[in-house]
């Protein structure tokens, strides 16, 4: 597997015969994902993340644009040769979609058989995965009664069964308890360490920050920012937030804080009418604390507490869209 690139322009250059789509889900999205990286699509619900995954996994036909996988130097147009594309990919959908007519083990065995694995390989690999995903004790049960976490684990195990070159995970940790989420992250990292390419969609900033080498932030079907998590966070002006608590906060102190170099906004954060708790938005973190103390002393106030929030993807999303990711 070499590189994977994809460009999907939906809503432009439409075929005249085709009816216009009712909703433009993706609008000029163009991404290039390098081999062996974990690439994240971060955005709120309805941003177009799942549609992007759908196009790259042969499930959603784009109205225009192209989607290409590269394997050993050959380019595979996903929509011209979906069978070859499907051989190279593994997909974990947002909603569990396990075969309820089969047991956990049978799900893995049949999945392996769809991909032409030999019977011995299938048995061995299924056992390994059931053990790795802590599902051995329920291996021979039908999956209908499985908990959400178990279903999600089995879905990932199934996607890994045929050892795909590119793994797509659509919101893999939604609804998982923290322990299972950490297990999932370590499995994703481990698989990536084998040189596999992983595309993950999430609306969880910690997940994106923790796992991804590169990120695209998407909203309303458009890419609004692209880069490494560090680059993206550094790109926000005034990305730091200083949460301050003073003994007293006269209006004069507020004015002095606003005039400090690098401060973009000063906002009361405590109970209405009290200014003892104040948030300062600035382009520096710790370096500003000395100036804050000096300003407080000049107004006969004392700084009691300070907490510094580093630039975050949440702040970045807010900066670009004016909305929080959770909205």
């Amino acid at each position: 597997m070499a590189a994977m690139g994809m460009g999907a322009r939906t809503g432009f250059k439409r075929d005249k015969k085709a009816p216009p789509p009712k909703v433009v889900a993706l609008d000029g999205v163009s991404l290039e994902i390098q081999p062996g990286e974990i690439f994240g699509l971060l955005g709120p619900n309805g941003a177009g993340k799942s549609t992007t995954v759908g196009i790259l996994t042969t499930r959603v036909r784009p109205t225009s644009g192209e989607a290409v996988l590269q394997s050993n130097g050959t380019s595979i147009d996903i929509w011209a040769d979906p069978v070859r594309a499907k051989q190279l990919i593994g997909v974990v959908q947002q909603r569990p979609n396990l075969d309820f007519a089969l047991t956990a083990r049978e799900i893995l065995l049949f999945h392996g058989a769809y991909f032409g694995m030999s019977s011995t390989d299938r048995q061995r690999r299924a056992n390994e995965l059931l053990e790795q995903f802590q599902l051995l004790s329920r291996a021979d049960d039908l999956t209908r009664g499985f908990s959400g976490g178990m279903m999600q684990r089995l879905s990932v195990a199934r996607a890994l069964m045929h050892d795909p070159q590119v793994l797509f995970l659509d919101e893999p940790s939604t609804g998982l308890d923290p322990q299972t989420r950490l297990m999932m992250w370590s499995i994703i990292r481990e698989y990536n360490a084998k040189g596999k390419t992983i595309l993950i969609t999430t609306h969880n900033m910690d997940e994106a920050d923790e796992l991804c080498h590169h990120l695209a932030i998407v909203d309303h079907g458009k890419v609004i920012a692209l880069g490494t998590p560090r680059e993206l966070k550094a790109s926000i002006p005034g990305g730091y937030i200083l949460h301050l608590r003073f003994s007293a906060a006269p209006p004069e102190l507020m004015e002095r804080l606003k005039q400090l170099p690098g401060v973009t906004e000063v906002r009361p954060a405590g109970a209405p009418g009290s200014a003892e708790q104040t948030d300062v938005y600035a382009d520096r973190g710790g370096a500003l604390v000395g100036d804050v103390v000096a300003a407080a002393t000049a107004c006969s106030a004392e700084l009691h507490d300070v907490h510094i929030s580093e630039p975050s993807l949440e702040n970045l999303f807010l900066h670009h869209t004016g909305r929080s990711l959770r909205q």
Binding site: K86, A101, Y114
Partner: protein, 258 residues
């Protein structure tokens, strides 16, 4: 083996495995009603003298036609309705390295086999229930198998079309609005000729493929009873099969790729 052959046989093996696991439910779902009908009409009514004993030979081909059609339709349509809409179970199979069209063909093939098996299964207890004075002809076995295969294909392709067209909330409606009239006006319990006194109805029921299934099996298994000529049956069933297969493929493709 090419990836298509491998994936196709694995998908088929999966369906056979599931069908074997669900055999009791399938039998109860599709065959209990026809067997009860055999008992009431073939035994109760004939022994009490309310129906002539010769009715038995007329009834058996119709019962086989209903069982085969219902099995093909139900075993293909019912899981698909849930798999496409609610459980989305089919997604894993749609991602198998094989063209979407082959997955539709595989679904139909498994429906065809289940319909044929159901025809064979229902014939045995029905034969026992109807007793020794039932006379079936074994002279047209070749034609019988041809008609039976065409019926199985029509039921599987019909099941695939229904399964890709009906919403989960409309399942009840399909039973009462489509399947029930189809069975009652499918010439399973009476020959098509019996509708002569209802000339409009007699023409209208020709739109119902089950009529050709019942009449076709009657013409090959019990040709002494009145029936539509078998070559006509074969031609009509072949056309119905082709049309339903084309529609089913289109519906499946549009369901599988949005």
């Amino acid at each position: 083996m090419s990836s298509t052959t491998q994936a196709f046989s694995a998908l088929f093996a999966r369906d056979v495995h599931v069908a074997r696991r669900n055999i009791v439910t399938t039998v109860l779902q599709t065959m209990l009603q026809p067997l009860l009908f055999v008992f009431v009409f073939g035994q109760v009514m004939t022994r009490s003298g309310m129906m002539p004993a010769s009715y038995k030979g007329m009834l058996l081909p119709g019962i086989m036609a209903i069982s085969m059609t219902m099995t093909g339709v139900m075993t293909v349509a019912m899981p698909l309705i849930a798999e496409f809409q609610f459980t989305r179970e089919i997604e894993d199979r749609l991602l198998a390295p094989i063209r979407i069209e082959w997955i539709a063909v595989e679904k139909m093939l498994s429906g065809v086999l289940q319909a044929l098996v159901s025809g064979a299964i229902v014939a045995i207890p029905a034969r026992l229930l109807l007793g020794s004075d039932l006379h079936l002809s074994m002279e047209h076995l070749g034609m019988f198998f041809l008609v039976a295969s065409l019926i199985a294909l029509f039921s599987a392709a019909g099941g695939l079309t229904l399964g890709c067209s009906v919403g989960q909330t409309q399942i009840g409606l399909i039973f009462s609005m489509v399947l029930a009239p189809m069975i009652m006006f499918g010439c399973a319990y009476y020959p098509w000729k019996a509708l002569e006194s209802f000339p409009i109805l007699q023409k209208l029921v020709l739109l119902n493929p089950l009529v050709y299934a019942s009449e076709g099996l009657r013409g090959t298994l019990a040709p002494t009873y009145p029936h539509i000529s078998t070559p006509i049956i074969v031609a009509v069933l072949a056309v119905v099969d082709v049309v339903l297969m084309v529609v089913a493929m289109q519906r499946f493709r549009s369901k599988a790729v949005s």
